[in-house]
Amino acid sequence: MKLKNWKEVVPGAVVTEAGSALKFKTGSWRSSKPRWKEENCIQCLFCWIYCPDMAVKVKDGKRAEFDYDYCKGCGICALECPGKKGQKAIVMEEEGK
């Protein structure tokens, strides 16, 4: 993406374009990564509600894969996940392993 010069920036750093956070991929900040174990998922969608970004995707009302472009690895989804019979549907794993 070509960066704007000082003559092109909006006065006062006002963001005039809706949804422009999409352009700012923050997944590279991650040091641990959530992994979805579908077999333990009860489709409660708590992970989707609790995700502070929009890194949990939902398709046709059902839990879909993580969007790792935006997941910063905060681990909230894994913490909130009730899982099935004591088995978490989201587990955190170290990046690079």
Partner: protein, 393 residues
């Protein structure tokens, strides 16, 4: 024809604000600015203005309220002094960096400690580089006129920056002077309808204010701010021309008094300029070519224009009603020295610190400085570059 009244500086500023009738004001009282907002809140209570008045719990909140209201899309103003301005510190930069044309009356007062409530420029000088426009006023009439013009300058579509109107605490804020108020409809037409750039409350065009700007863009915003600052002088002069049409009063970037053929000159801000002019007349009557320069637009500082106006003099004394701690010179002196730096031929320059904490600046002080200037012009030498005057040794 306007109305001639006897009014204090604070009363005059409050009257200007009534006539401008801003959408929102968010304020917190502090001596000696309290009186402005006290009078203004009476206008609000009595239905004289349509302003939404937000009474907050501190100046930090006062300026925050102004920022929110301005971003939302309103014409906004407030007033403060000294510690109040100091408490607004981080918001001052947010207001200017966000390019919000808030107008604020700053009734200049000394900073603590030691605690002091009187006229002194250390508050305004401390905030001189916070990205705001600063207009300084010698008397109540100038404070009134500058307040009205400040809205027009700040809100100009080429500028969009907050503006501070400075007047001396007590000396001007609480002293009664003869002053001319213009008619309400003239002021209403002069300031016109307010239009915010990218208002938060425009639901058709949703925007976000205050994003995180990192290393890849921060410098571009700062450069853009600096560039806007360089356009302020022209707008100030244009607005002054328009203001002259409705008031008959002339304003520039600075005022010169008997300076054209002067050999020695004083540079001094605000109320003490009045006292100095009297003494300059006295020196002139003795055949001494003395003059004065009083900056009006202090930020952005018109370095080039002031340099041009002073370069031909033999000796100049800059009087500061604030010190810049750090073993250096007073803030106004530093700016004047910078404005003269580009010239090979320039006057000898010295700096006097006067009137701190409201200490009286008397004609005798101006006489002392002018006599020293006569000597400096003759010898081309300065005995001491910076010195406190009116202080017990």
């Amino acid at each position: 024809m306007g109305k001639i009244v006897a009014a204090t500086g604070n009363e005059a500023v409050a009257e200007a604000l009534r006539q401008v009738n801003p959408d929102v004001s968010s304020a917190y009282p502090i001596t000696p600015a309290t009186d402005i907002m006290q009078r203004f809140t009476s206008f609000v209570s009595n239905g004289k203005v349509k302003t939404e008045m937000i009474l907050v719990e501190s100046e930090h909140s006062a300026m925050s309220g102004c920022i929110g209201a301005s971003a939302a899309g309103g014409r906004v103003m407030t007033a403060t002094s000294s510690q109040g301005l100091a408490l607004m510190w981080e918001e001052l930069f947010i207001a200017s960096g966000t390019r919000l044309p808030i107008v604020m009356a700053l009734v200049n007062r000394a900073l603590s400690a030691p605690l002091n409530i009187h006229g002194d420029h250390s508050d305004g000088m401390g905030a001189r580089d916070c990205g705001w426009i600063q207009l300084w006023s010698e008397n109540a009439q100038e404070a009134y006129d500058n307040t009205i013009q400040a809205f027009h300058i700040a809100e100009h579509m080429d500028i969009r920056l907050p503006a501070m109107v400075c007047l001396d605490g007590f000396i001007i804020s609480h002293s009664i002077e003869r002053i001319e108020y213009l008619e309400d409809d003239k002021i209403k037409n002069f300031v016109g309808e307010y239009k915010q750039l990218n208002p938060l409350l425009d639901l058709e065009h949703p925007v976000s204010y205050g994003p995180l700007i990192l290393t890849d863009y921060y410098m571009e915003y700062r450069k853009a701010h600096d560039e806007v600052m360089s356009k302020v002088s022209k707008v100030v002069l244009d607005v002054a021309k328009d203001f002259e049409k409705i008031s008959g009063r002339k304003y520039g970037l600075f005022e010169t008094y008997r300076l054209d053929d002067a050999e020695i000159g004083l540079v001094i801000l605000n109320s003490a300029a009045g006292t100095s002019k009297d003494v300059i007349d006295e020196f002139r009557s003795r055949g001494i070519k003395a003059g004065l320069l009083k900056p009006r637009l202090y930020r952005p500082f018109p370095y080039k224009e002031i340099g041009e106006a002073l370069k031909g003099l033999k000796a100049v004394c800059v009087l500061d009603r604030a010190d810049a701690f750090g073993g250096s010179y007073g803030p106004l002196f530093i700016d004047i020295a910078s404005s003269l730096y580009p010239y090979k031929e320039r006057p000898v320059l010295f700096n006097k610190i006067y009137g701190l904490g409201g200490r009286d600046y008397m004609p005798a002080h101006a006489e002392q400085v002018l006599s020293e200037l006569v000597e400096a012009a003759k010898t081309g030498k300065v005995k001491q570059i910076k010195e406190y005057i009116g202080v017990r040794e």
